[in-house]
């Protein structure tokens, strides 16, 4: 077979393969794994949402929708954002329905960046912001956050990484992989810096409903921030709808119309059946969603207590469904720890450095798993640490 890789663009080649991918191959070859390595709910989508999708298909809703998404869905989204973060968006031209938050992030970076513009990415964070910036010919700049700060982005640290080329700041709270949140006071401390340096904020709020203590706040709700913030959200986490690939972005109409342009040529529109399901989720999904959130909170308490009993230090995550303990006492690096834990105890957790180099020395444990699986995993991790503890 010919080596065709020379035809692949240098930009794409410059992106390193995902650290999670490598680990995925390893886990897939192992039998009987208890996986705390997933990034999605363990619930199936609530039945009333699935059923509404069936009904829409039966009635023949199988066609394109307007590029921006069904008007009813955009109206429900605008109403939801008003309730949730207290910011008003016009359903007509300030809401765009996308293929998950992932597409929204990609669109925003493509629309905002000139070649060489810098994107400030607080890490550890979800894996796609930095590659997204590279693909849009921008330059990702990692901004570290630390466990002693409960992974909040601190203004004095942010300022150190700002240059004249800084254009976009990513804020993703509640955070994957740490479970950290930023409350109103924490965000307030960033507002002046954002304005002073004329930054645009990509606010990925996909985990906002999964806030167990404190109250979710959006940077868009602060005076003067609405127009310089793109609020992104979706249905994957709160409504257990990851496979439906449905999300949205709200923001100033100039940004939304630019994103709309890219979206119409690349995606056309989000699938109509997912849009129909999303309408049902926003109209009638709250009760089941809150039940799932209560269940995650129960499990959060179990895993936190378990981790502390086996000697792994972990700050208390107040959002999402992850915790991010330090593995310092094992004396191992993140990847070595995860590989050995998988081989010896068949428990899968994700190396923290997959979410940025500042995550080295930590692992991500997802607690969207049954209580018995969590308890078994903790017991096995405890056995592992008894053998490997150095400190």
């Amino acid at each position: 077979m010919n080596d065709m890789s020379k035809y692949v663009s240098s930009v794409v080649k410059s992106i390193p393969p995902s650290g999670i991918r490598k680990f995925f191959d390893l886990v897939s070859q192992t039998e009987g794994v208890i996986s705390l390595g997933v990034g999605e709910p363990d619930f199936v989508t609530p039945w009333h949402i699935i059923e509404e999708c069936f009904y829409s298909l039966e009635r023949g809703y199988t066609m394109y929708t307007s590029n921006a998404g069904l008007p009813e869905l955009r109206e429900e989204i605008a109403a939801y954002q008003k309730r949730k973060i207290g910011v008003e968006y016009s359903p007509a031209n300030e809401v765009l329905v996308t293929i998950g938050v992932s597409e929204a992030v990609d669109l925003a970076l493509r629309v905002l960046l000139e070649p060489g513009d810098e994107v400030l990415v607080p890490e550890p964070c979800f894996v796609s912001y930095a590659p997204g910036a590279v693909l849009a010919y921008g330059k990702p700049v990692s901004v570290p956050t630390y466990d002693q700060d409960e992974y909040r982005l601190k203004p004095e640290i942010l300022e150190r990484y700002i240059t004249p080329r800084s254009k976009v700041l990513v804020l993703a709270y509640p955070n994957n992989p740490t479970g950290g949140i930023m409350e109103a006071g924490d965000l307030q401390a960033l507002v002046d810096i954002i304005k002073k340096h004329d930054l645009i904020v990509i606010s990925d709020e996909i985990y906002c409903e999964l806030t167990y203590e404190g109250k979710h706040a959006s940077i868009a709700s602060f005076p003067g921030m609405r127009d310089r913030t793109l609020v992104m959200n979706g249905f994957s986490k709160a409504y257990a709808m990851t496979g439906w690939r449905i999300g949205y972005v709200c923001g100033n109409k100039d940004f939304i119309s630019a994103m709309h342009k890219v979206h119409q040529y690349t995606i056309m529109c989000a699938p109509i059946m997912s849009q129909k399901a999303a309408i049902e989720a926003l109209r009638n999904g709250e009760t089941e969603m809150l039940k799932m959130v209560a269940d995650y909170n129960n499990r959060r308490k179990i895993i936190l207590k378990g981790l502390s009993e086996i000697g792994l230090d972990c700050f208390e995550p107040k959002g999402a469904f992850y915790c991010f303990p330090s593995i310092k006492i094992s004396g191992m690096g993140s990847e070595e720890f995860c590989e050995k834990l998988l081989m010896e105890e068949q428990v899968a957790v994700i190396p923290g450095n997959a979410f940025g180099s500042v995550g080295e020395g930590f692992v991500r444990c997802c607690y969207a798993a049954s209580i018995s699986n969590l308890e078994n995993a903790i017991e096995k991790m405890g056995n592992f640490l008894r053998r490997h503890r150095v400190a």
Binding site: I20, F24, V27, V33, E40, N298, K301, A348
Partner: protein
């Protein structure tokens, strides 16, 4: 009271949840959880702990029937005395007073159809207050007490995802 409700909600669908787990979730001492559980049992708020079993799966045959019963109510006690009498039969699993065209719904379990038929003809329909019975045999159980039989419950998620 609030704590009692929280504990009951946790064990409603998982009677085997350990005291330690309950204590962790509710941020309480284990001894306090044990105390509350003991009190709930003593007060008969918790009547017992049963197991939902798919007997078919291990080849144990059985028959369940739902019987609609029409009763003649009695002065002062209404349907209660007869209902309580029916409850005493060991083959009776559930007894409900119903609105609508009949009065009691009685769920009966037996080893064979003959067992159930014998119970209805000899024990139930011969009670003085029983005017009539209609017996429906259960053909297949799909869901019971929140649990779905034959549900493909394995986790379909990728083992690792970002």
């Amino acid at each position: 009271m609030d704590l009692e409700k929280k504990i009951l909600t946790l064990i409603e669908n998982d009677a085997k949840m350990s005291i330690k787990t309950i204590a962790t979730i509710l941020d309480m001492e284990e001894s306090r959880v044990a105390e509350i559980l003991a009190k709930l049992e003593k007060d008969k708020v918790i009547l017992g702990y049963s197991t939902i079993i798919d007997w078919d799966k291990i080849g144990v045959d059985g028959v369940t029937a739902m019987i609609d019963v029409k009763l003649t109510p009695e002065r002062e006690v209404g349907f209660n005395r007869t209902a309580e009498r029916i409850c005493r039969f060991p083959e009776v699993r559930c007894v409900y007073l119903m609105s609508g065209t009949y009065d009691l719904s009685v769920i009966v379990e037996g080893k064979t159809m003959k067992d159930v038929a014998w119970f209805v003809s000899h024990k139930l329909s011969t009670l003085d207050q029983v005017q009539s019975t209609v017996t429906h045999f259960v053909l297949k159980r799909y869901k019971e007490d929140n649990f779905v039989f034959e549900e493909p419950q394995q986790d379909k998620r990728l083992v690792v995802s970002p």
